[in-house]
């Protein structure tokens, strides 16, 4: 078998989930190639050549790939597939991968497998359904297996020691007359990124308003943690949606997850229950979050969080 990993990157750097996806690809067995499509993305190609396990890198450097639009990337991937006949095509289960891979799969007339958490064999994959309340093992009979990978379920591959060769991808000169990319506004933060942070502190409806999240930011800065939120806090307009942890938001699995004022709805638990240690602060002793927390503190968060910040400052 041979697997193609569609690299996610910013043109300047690889997105961390690409490394988790490479690990998943090596579990399929057989060769692993990567495709890097972008504009002035040579730095990313260089980064990838050092990743062990990757044998070949297909490079598609073209203005058409500005914004990484699926309407431009899909014909490119179809061309690469025609030439190399990969048995598997994978990408990270991010906004990028989730947009692109189903479009590609439909063009290849195969059923993609979304957000896999384990690979049992070349054709059998494990994924969560019903917001993580059930785990399904599925077998694909399609000639090409197209899947996206949950980053937290696979270790990141190392970033040195590899000796991959790069070459130009076939049919790079694609035209996209269907869509154009205007721009991005990314939340600026010096804190680590939510899905790769070692520690995540999340606030829920118990925070009462957006202003009160300052308390969590202060604690996060002290702990070098990322700050997340429950869907309830996002729905209430306290914080932006990109902070949402849960089945419909981001899936995180840090070393330490601190849930503050979060009751622990099923859909939130789905996004964080694979964390190594879960701590919860909630004033309701019956809150479901305590059923999954390793350390639970029944307390008023407006007292407990500043106390926690002070206690950690002293450490």
């Amino acid at each position: 078998s041979s697997t193609l990993v569609v690299a996610e990157h910013t043109n300047d750097a690889l997105t961390p989930i690409t490394l988790n996806t490479v690990t998943a690809a090596t579990k399929v067995g057989g060769d692993v190639s990567c495709l890097v499509a972008g504009t002035n993305c040579s730095k990313v190609v260089e980064e990838l050549t050092k990743v062990p396990g990757v044998t070949k890198i297909l490079v598609a450097d073209n203005e058409s790939f500005k914004g990484f639009l699926p309407e431009a990337l899909t014909p490119l991937l179809v061309n690469a597939q025609k030439q190399f006949n990969f048995t598997h095509i994978a990408a990270g289960a991010t906004a990028f991968g989730k947009s692109l891979l189903p479009r590609l799969a439909a063009k290849l007339d195969v059923s993609p497998i979304s957000d896999i958490i384990s690979i049992e064999s070349e054709d059998t994959f494990v994924r969560t359904i019903y917001a993580g309340n059930a785990i399904a093992t599925v077998k694909s009979k399609d000639a090409v297996k197209v899947f996206t990978v949950r980053g937290t379920a696979f270790e990141a591959s190392p970033t040195s020691g590899g000796t991959a060769q790069s070459e130009e991808a076939p049919g790079v000169d694609v035209k996209n007359e269907l869509s154009t990319w205007e721009g991005q506004s990314l939340s600026k933060s010096d804190r680590p990124e939510l899905t790769s942070a070692e520690t995540v502190i999340s606030g829920g409806r118990g925070m009462k308003n957006g202003e009160n999240f300052k308390m969590l930011y202060e604690l996060a800065d002290l702990m070098n943690a990322a700050v997340g939120a429950s869907r309830a806090a996002v729905d209430a307009g306290y914080v932006p949606n990109d902070m949402q942890v849960g089945q419909t938001g981001k899936i995180v699995a840090p070393q330490l997850y601190i849930a503050v004022g979060i009751s622990g709805a099923i859909q939130h638990l789905a996004g964080m229950k694979d964390s190594k240690v879960i701590a919860a602060i909630n004033k309701d002793p019956e809150a479901p979050i305590f059923q999954v927390a390793d350390v639970g503190l029944v307390a008023d968060l407006f007292k407990a969080v500043p106390e926690l910040t002070e206690a950690l400052k002293k450490e």
Partner: protein, 255 residues
């Protein structure tokens, strides 16, 4: 502009129901369990309605693929304001194995048949959590896709769409015809009251057809091997004070 819009409405187990895995480990228990419209599809219907209220949209067709009971889901969409419904009837084993690729093929065929300019779907259904149908429908039609939309503005023969991406937002423009998939913040769906479902929606027409009427083959290529409960996470200890909490976290080596 007078767009013709297709919205997909899936009937799923209600989000508040606790899921139980079947004893034979081949699926989850659906009999006698409350079902509702997929929440992301409600947002899709609402968005179509708002465009209709702005006179940008002329007609909204709500489509659902599945057994007889899916008519209830279509009625809910009609009560919210959709103009008519199409029920693509698929039951039994065939429905159990129906995947997003099949549904996409059905939507694509209907879009051609009904002269549709805009398809609005939920970004994912809360049962299978696949997040594929919009992207695949767009691919089959060779239309652009605006996935995970949080703001849609109709421009001259195109859409300006703000999308939810990792770490923030992105703005794209897609030419019409196009497929949009709704994310959580796109809008706050209106509530269809029971009298509205019973009265208003009853008068609207629901066409019935089958996948073979549309020339769509629903033979599955993905087989469920087994379905299991997720591993149970044991609750730990409750502590009395912040000090005790810090001590526990130190013990675990995470602070």
């Amino acid at each position: 502009m007078a767009l013709r819009v297709l919205v997909g409405v899936k009937r799923v187990i209600d989000y508040a129901v606790k899921i139980r895995v079947k004893p034979d480990n081949m699926g989850v228990v659906t009999e006698g369990v409350k079902h509702s419209m997929n929440p992301f599809d409600e947002i899709a219907v609402e968005e179509a309605m708002r465009l209709k209220e702005k006179k940008i949209v002329k007609e909204i067709i709500a489509v659902s693929c599945g057994p007889k009971q899916n008519q209830e889901t279509i009625r809910t969409a009609l009560a919210m304001g959709a103009d008519r419904g199409i029920h693509v009837e698929i039951g039994g084993k065939e429905y159990e194995n129906l995947g997003p690729l099949h549904v996409s093929k059905i939507f694509a065929k209907l879009a051609e048949k009904e002269d549709i300019n805009l398809i609005i779907l939920g970004k994912q259904a809360i049962d299978g959590d696949n997040n594929q149908t919009g992207q695949m429908t767009a691919a089959l039609l060779d239309w652009p896709q605006a996935t995970f939309a949080s703001e849609v503005t109709v421009e001259d023969n195109s859409l300006k769409v703000v999308r939810e991406i990792d770490g923030g937002l992105e703005t794209i423009h897609v030419k019409l015809p196009a497929v949009v998939t709704a994310d959580l913040r796109l809008n706050e769906p209106r509530y269809a009251t029971l009298p509205s479902i019973m009265q208003k929606a009853k008068k609207k027409k629901i066409d019935k057809m089958t996948p073979s009427d549309l020339g769509v083959d629903v033979t599955p290529t993905v087989e469920t091997v087994r379905v299991e409960d997720p591993p149970v996470r044991e609750a730990g200890q409750k502590v009395e004070t912040v000090e005790d909490m810090v001590a526990k976290l130190k013990e675990a080596g995470v602070v």
